[in-house]
């Protein structure tokens, strides 16, 4: 049965057929026909944001916390350009989202029409793929293909640009099962011989380590389950990137904590000293490797990744395995068990003795004062008071608070941790927390923020209040751009050029102005009560926690240095720790 309908109706029908029930968006002239169709139905709930960047980050939060693609609907021109930061963020962190943009009618394209922008041109480098649809006959098929591309292979953002006359025109609706299949079908099964080689390496390794990343989260909860079984049965230590936290539980016995520039001492030294590194769905980012020439010099490296271009991009590996990490891990686990689940247990026990020596350094130690709240202390208390909540989701903005959150909060499940890793987008966390709360209405959703990041998308308070989303904005307020300040201290002779915020708002009054609750706290003695007050309030809260202004985030690998050149906490030298070669690095 062929069904004729307008392009605008097709958009809504295609979204329904893709199982979409939630859209984040902002209307405008070039998407009015689609908004009219949204008005006429009840299956898809639309969440009106206050800025298009917020819509994309909210969709990212939705996608990361559910594993389902997030959907965004915005207008042409400024609507599309405002979405660019979110698209780039989703591309860098491999988050599946589908963004639908309105466009001026086809006969006005190229005339510099009102609110016209070359959306597919602008977003070509910051999407996994994009299309301009000029024919209503193609529209529904393209939307189905957009979902296919966004969710298959390495996930990412896909954009479909729809001119207004195509939304009004009538065409044939194509249901998902009839849509033309794309040539794009990435392989998910790993090469059996490579998997056998991996199992042999596992059997022979004396100082092994699992180094896991966001790919495990993206592969789905089954991948995390398989990883946990592999790690626990083998007894190998495991560390993870910022993106991969929660795949292996933070309370698991083999957990070393996060690695990288602000990772834990034991995790980085284990990476440096291992003889077998099994990279599962991570990409040897520069925050992880430090100085590439000195990265884990004595190890054989295995890299499991669904994206062939990730392999040998930064670090040359000995054994690449292209495939879905969940599928490859499952195949490897079956094979390893069938061969008797062998490891060199004596050597691995020695390896653990070494790791336990490194753990004794206690690299996250800090001294809490009686007068001011240390940011680490605030997070320690937040962790203590929320870790038993069965549905706790944490978002962050970008900066020192983000690193402290990764260090001091424990994640025992995947999809519970939403942070901007690759792009490092200040302003990500608040809208992301809105997306998470929309997906999980009865969950506890906390955005750990710095005051500077948070102000970048503070307009979304309107969204939180309008839709009664009880998101908790946990702001560690040091009146500084803390990470910028830290780098200026380390690299630029303590000349703090424009890294402090004057004229900050009164966050309590700001919350009240939006119709939310505000809490301000500066005395360590009142901290627990204030956190409980935040948790018990049924509605959005801005929690303004005034913290120590000059705290630095440690441990830290100065840029351009190797893993074993970490700076440890208080008392570490801070003058001239970044050499000339490292100074040019970000």
């Amino acid at each position: 049965m062929t069904r004729q309908m307008t392009g605008a109706k097709m958009v809504v029908q295609a979204l329904k057929d893709q199982g979409v029930d939630t859209v984040f968006g902002y209307p405008g002239g070039a998407v009015l026909p689609i908004y009219d169709e949204i008005f006429l139905q009840n299956d898809i709930r639309h969440y009106l944001v206050r800025h298009e960047q917020g819509a994309v980050h909210a969709a990212e939060g939705y996608a990361r916390s559910t594993g389902k693609p997030g959907v965004v609907l915005v207008t042409s021109g400024p609507g599309a350009t405002n979405a660019v930061t979110g698209l780039t963020d989703a591309l860098m962190d491999s988050i599946p989202i589908v963004v639908l943009t309105g466009q001026v009618p086809t006969f006005l394209i190229g005339t510099d029409g009102f609110q016209e922008a070359d959306t597919v041109g602008i977003t070509r480098p910051c999407t996994k793929h994009n299309w301009l649809v000029k024919d209503p006959e193609d529209l529904s098929g393209r939307i189905h293909q957009a979902f296919h591309v966004a969710t298959n292979g390495r996930p990412g953002p896909v954009l479909v640009d729809i001119p207004k006359d195509v939304q009004f025109a009538t065409g044939t609706y194509t249901p998902p099962e009839k849509a033309r299949t794309l040539h794009y079908q990435p392989k998910t099964k790993g090469d059996p011989e490579a998997i056998e080689a991996l199992v042999e390496l596992i059997e022979q390794a004396e100082r092994p380590i699992f180094y896991t990343g966001g790919g495990v989260i993206n592969s789905g909860p089954e991948a995390s389950e398989t990883l946990r079984e592999f790690v626990d049965t083998s007894g190998f230590p495991i560390t993870s990137t910022l993106m991969g936290l929660g795949a292996y539980p933070a309370n698991g016995k083999n957990w070393l904590g996060m690695l990288g520039m602000h990772g834990l001492y034991e995790a980085n030294l284990a990476m440096h000293g291992c003889d077998l590194m099994i990279n599962v769905g991570a990409r040897f980012d520069d925050r992880i490797t430090g100085r590439v020439q000195d990265f884990s010099p004595k190890s054989q490296k295995v890299h499991i990744d669904i994206d062939p271009s990730s392999i040998n991009k930064v670090i040359h590996v000995d054994l690449p395995i292209v495939g879905d990490v969940g599928s490859v891990l499952a195949d490897a686990l079956i094979l390893w068990k069938s061969r008797g689940s062998k490891t060199r247990a004596d050597s691995i026990q020695k390896w653990w003795y070494q790791i336990k020596e490194w753990k004794k350094v206690d690299c996250l130690a800090f001294t809490q004062s009686k007068k001011t709240i240390k940011p680490q202390h605030a997070l320690t208390r937040l962790e203590a008071l929320t870790k038993d909540h069965p549905k706790r989701y944490i978002c962050t903005e970008v900066g020192q608070h983000q690193m402290w959150a990764a260090q001091f909060l424990g994640f025992n499940e995947p999809n519970r941790w939403m942070t901007s890793g690759g792009l490092g987008t200040m302003g990500y966390g608040f809208p992301a927390s809105i997306g998470v709360q929309v997906a999980h209405p009865d969950a506890l959703v906390i955005n750990v923020a710095g005051e500077a990041s948070w102000l970048m998308n503070m307009q979304e308070m309107g969204t939180a209040v309008q839709f009664r989303l009880p998101v908790k904005q946990f702001i560690l307020n040091n009146e500084r751009l803390g990470m910028v300040r830290q780098w200026q201290e380390l690299l630029h002779g303590e000349r703090y050029s424009h890294s402090w915020s004057e004229a900050l708002p009164d966050f309590v009054k700001l919350a009240e102005a939006f119709g939310a609750k505000g809490i301000m706290i500066s005395d360590p003695a009142d901290l627990d009560d204030a956190i409980m007050e935040m948790l018990e309030y049924d509605g959005p809260v801005i929690f303004d926690c005034l913290v120590e202004k000059h705290e630095n985030c440690f441990p830290m690998i100065p840029s351009g240095e190797a893993h074993n050149k970490m700076l440890l906490g208080e008392g570490a030298p801070t003058q001239d720790v970044i050499g000339t070669s490292g100074a040019v690095l970000v």
Binding site: R124, W131, L132, Y184, E193, P308, I311, K313
Partner: protein, 187 residues
Amino acid sequence: MSALKIKKGTSRHSAYDLRDPHAETEERHTLAVVVDNEAGVLARVIGLFSGRGYNIESLTVAETDHTGHVSRITVVTTGTPSVIEQIKAQLGRLVPVHDVHDLTVEGASVERELALFKVSGNGNDRIESLRLAEIFRANVVDSTLESFVFEMTGTPQKIDAFAELMRPLGLVEMARTGVAALSRGMD
């Protein structure tokens, strides 16, 4: 890789078996990229090269299958072995890309380029240009009393050589198509 007892060619990156991956010397490679001929596909490929800082020495593109709307982009690029591998992997993951063939490592191939040369002159130079054109098997496709347009097909090196010879004889303008290339043999 051999230490791991993996057969050559089992992984996607088996080209590493053939060359030193850490070599710093730049190589010239001819890549044939088979793509869906959809709007913007060329911009996507070129944007990948400029965005990631890769080189394009020559680029040729046309639809080669009109019913399937499939185009073939032949791109000549230079880079270290690891950069060449990255270029291929990055091209391979673009959604409209069907296949990436590295004609430089996948056995023997033929490369041809078409060029047009406008040469103006009188007297001996004019006669000499005709004589050289004959040696190079270039055809005269336009003639006035004071100029020729020569057409020639050949390898880029042959075209360079002919251009060098024509320059003192009155070469005023030249147009090249860029390289088209196919592997030799059955497939």
